[in-house]
Assembly symmetry: none
Homo-oligomer: 225 residues x 2
DNA sequence: TTTCCGATGAAGAAGATACTGATTGTAGAT
DNA sequence: ATCTACAATCAGTATCTTCTTCATCGGAAA
């Protein structure tokens, strides 16, 4: 049986959710704030966490941030209607879904089911991370790692790499790169690209090999699976 | 950067999808109903459309039907749980995937990535490779292979081969080759071509036979299917 | 056989890219 | 508003690849 952790400071809400969750065939436990949630995650294994944002002691976002360091558990956030929060911030944390209060427990459970049922499927697709041997690009997080080690890229370097892997195995002229990455209104020097390619290659370590030079043309990200 | 059109009558849903799409490295635009979606498709180029089925003015299926008349764009349909629809009908329209509400934005993006990657892969493999027996030219990648083995060409060699296969079975004088490949402002020696033809032939192995010498004239790429 | 034209190999010239270092531009902190 | 830190750009030089030319060889046409 799947186990859900419900985190909310209002006892009433916790109770409603727990009852409906158990009714839907889940085991459920409760925590009243972010702090105790973290403690419970350390001690138990949960399949999913339903977490309110506004809470005493430790807010939902901070709690999720801590929890994700410990275990990779899907999270559904609860937020009051009109509550100000930064969605992007949430996405970065790998939050799976939002539900706005007031919600119907039916709707909430539908989302719980959706997240849990498809957790496997989306893990299979993992498409937010692209791998090229030891080179991994996490598109959602805008980060890359080389042989498992995180490497920091400047914005342009990342844009360049991202563009190239999206057009892998295609010859890319300098003009096309400038137009698509820098924008049609950039009238700078072609050689600017060379510099960024150089810098990018330095960041990629052994995987610099994927970026091949096409003399008289431009560059290409070459990778055949 | 790939551009996605999000069509749904609920602003909240559009917003969540758009933010996650942008977060995942896509550009995104929104339309509130089928009608305006059609208008936007006419004006812009999208790489993918995420479309709700139930909408005022014009439902998702009808909109897709119209859009497919204009442009061939992959589509992911959104449908409410239990909503009645005929999946086969959808696939006939060329719909690439279904996602049932409520969905997690993470899952939706995984499917978007899957659909786009599929498209890219099939586009790469279909139209961009020309075959002449064991000689294959991949125009997008600017590569050739001989009997399945990759062979590196210098820029001029590639340009020459590319030009010749685009004018196969046509007699090409040295003057014409110089003018079209080197440019009208090249005033070098005719014999330069001979050297490049020689080098190119060496690269082509058994398929050097396709390049025939026309004594007193120039060369010709000879290949009848 | 003679003549002509193309094929070939080698070497210097030309051209393109890689890289260094300096300058300019920009966002965030104080 | 100013400062600071870092990124983006550009100019100049070094380095490497490719192109072109030339001299010679070989083979087909007359």
């Amino acid at each position: 049986m799947k186990k859900i952790l419900i985190v909310d400071d209002e006892e009433k809400i916790r109770e409603v959710i727990r009852e409906y969750a158990e009714f839907s065939g889940y085991a459920a436990e409760e925590a009243a704030d972010g702090m105790s949630a973290i403690g419970m995650v350390k001690l138990n294994d949960y399949d999913l966490i339903i977490m309110d944002i506004m809470m005493p002691k430790l807010d939902g976002f901070s709690a999720v941030k801590e929890i994700q360091k410990i275990k990779n558990i899907p999270v559904i956030m609860l937020s009051a209607r009109g509550e100000e929060y930064d969605k992007l911030f949430g996405f970065e944390l790998g939050i799976d879904d939002y539900v706005v209060k007031p919600f119907s427990p039916k709707e909430l459970m539908a989302r719980v089911n959706a997240v849990l049922n498809r957790r496997d499927a989306s893990e299979r697709n993992v498409s937010n991370i692209q791998k090229f041997e030891g080179l991994e690009i996490n598109i959602a997080a805008r980060t890359i790692s080389v042989d498992g080690k995180r490497v920091e890229l400047t914005p342009k370097e990342y844009d360049l790499l991202f563009y190239m892997i999206q057009h892998k195995n295609i010859a890319l002229s300098r003009e096309k790169l400038l137009e698509d990455i820098w924008g049609y209104d950039f009238f700078g020097d072609d050689r600017t690209i060379d510099t960024h390619v150089k810098n990018l290659r330095n960041c990629l370590g052994p995987y610099r090999k994927f970026i091949v030079t096409l003399r008289g043309v431009g560059y290409k990200f070459e990778y055949e699976e």
